[in-house]
Amino acid sequence: MNEALTAETVMMKGHDGDKVEAYLARPADADSFGGVVVIHHLPGYDSATKEITRKFAARGYAALMPNLYYRDSPGASPDDAAAAARAKGGMPDDQVVGDVAGAAAYLRGLQGSNGKIGVIGYCSGGRQSFLAACSLQLDAAVDCYGGAVVRVPAGAPASMKPLIGRSKNLSCPLLGLFGADDQFPTPADMAELSRTLDELGKAHEFHTFSGAGHAFFSVDRASYRVEAAVEGWDKVWAFFGRHLAGG
């Protein structure tokens, strides 16, 4: 694999047919590829998450990251858009699901798509990855330290509800990557989710990394933990390799 890729900003159809900005990265010389919808973290559609999107293309996947804050903040800097979304009370779950569905459809429509779609999200996007996997027909989902799946923190917007009750609708295998020192979600939260998925017979694989807290994949933040991130990426490649290849 020579890691050659192309990347660009595109417009896609999101929830309710809305035009939504998205960042597309795709392998330059692959005849057939799976697709990955990348859900950005609470701080928004930023350069670090675009870098993650390109990372998938370098590994042979077409990856698309919708800008979940685009409707209210077209053209704004990611941090301003994130602040505006926060002031407004966050993104409605239905809208996020609609945007992920639009991104999945966009990826399936690319020349060379093998029709298989995975989703991965970080921080709030981790929660939204689980939400999407319980709402849409997907082939694989990765939740990176998404809080508010099992319980919602005090003071969160009233619209934010726990998602564990939707577990019966999980449509695909789930990979969960968490930090042992994270307070939200805690290892106990993830153990509870794992038990629930076991009872429902839902395929899942959870890994909790010692010495890491929340956002250990974020290379531009103090929370970055190289050992957890390197091992975590290996888990992602193995997981998507099993579920998104071929076709």
């Binding site: 701080p43 704004a76 301003d80 602040a83 002031a87 969160a156």
Partner: protein, 86 residues
């Protein structure tokens, strides 16, 4: 962790953003991950006017120690003002 919790304050005053001075209408206050400060969590304050768009924003990200010192300094300055001014 992401706290998601936000305190909202209605504001009267002005702030200076990237496009110059603008009238403030709201302030968001929250302890969460910073965009720029080198800390896991900071006390973040957004002085904003949503009617003027997301870029009408003055943002600060402060360590908890700095934020508490700032809160005390604001209270002290107001308390020390001559009668009738604050």
């Amino acid at each position: 962790m992401c706290t998601y919790a936000t305190e909202h304050v209605s504001a009267t005053g002005s702030g200076k953003g990237p496009a110059g001075w603008f009238r403030l209408s709201e302030v968001s206050v929250y302890l969460d991950h910073p965009a720029h400060a080198l800390a896991d969590h900071t006390l973040n304050i957004d002085f904003i006017n949503p009617a003027q768009g997301p870029s009408a924003r003055v943002a600060v990200e402060l360590t908890a120690q700095t934020a508490r010192a700032l809160a005390r300094a604001i209270e002290s300055a107001l308390d020390a003002a001559p009668p009738g001014l604050a």
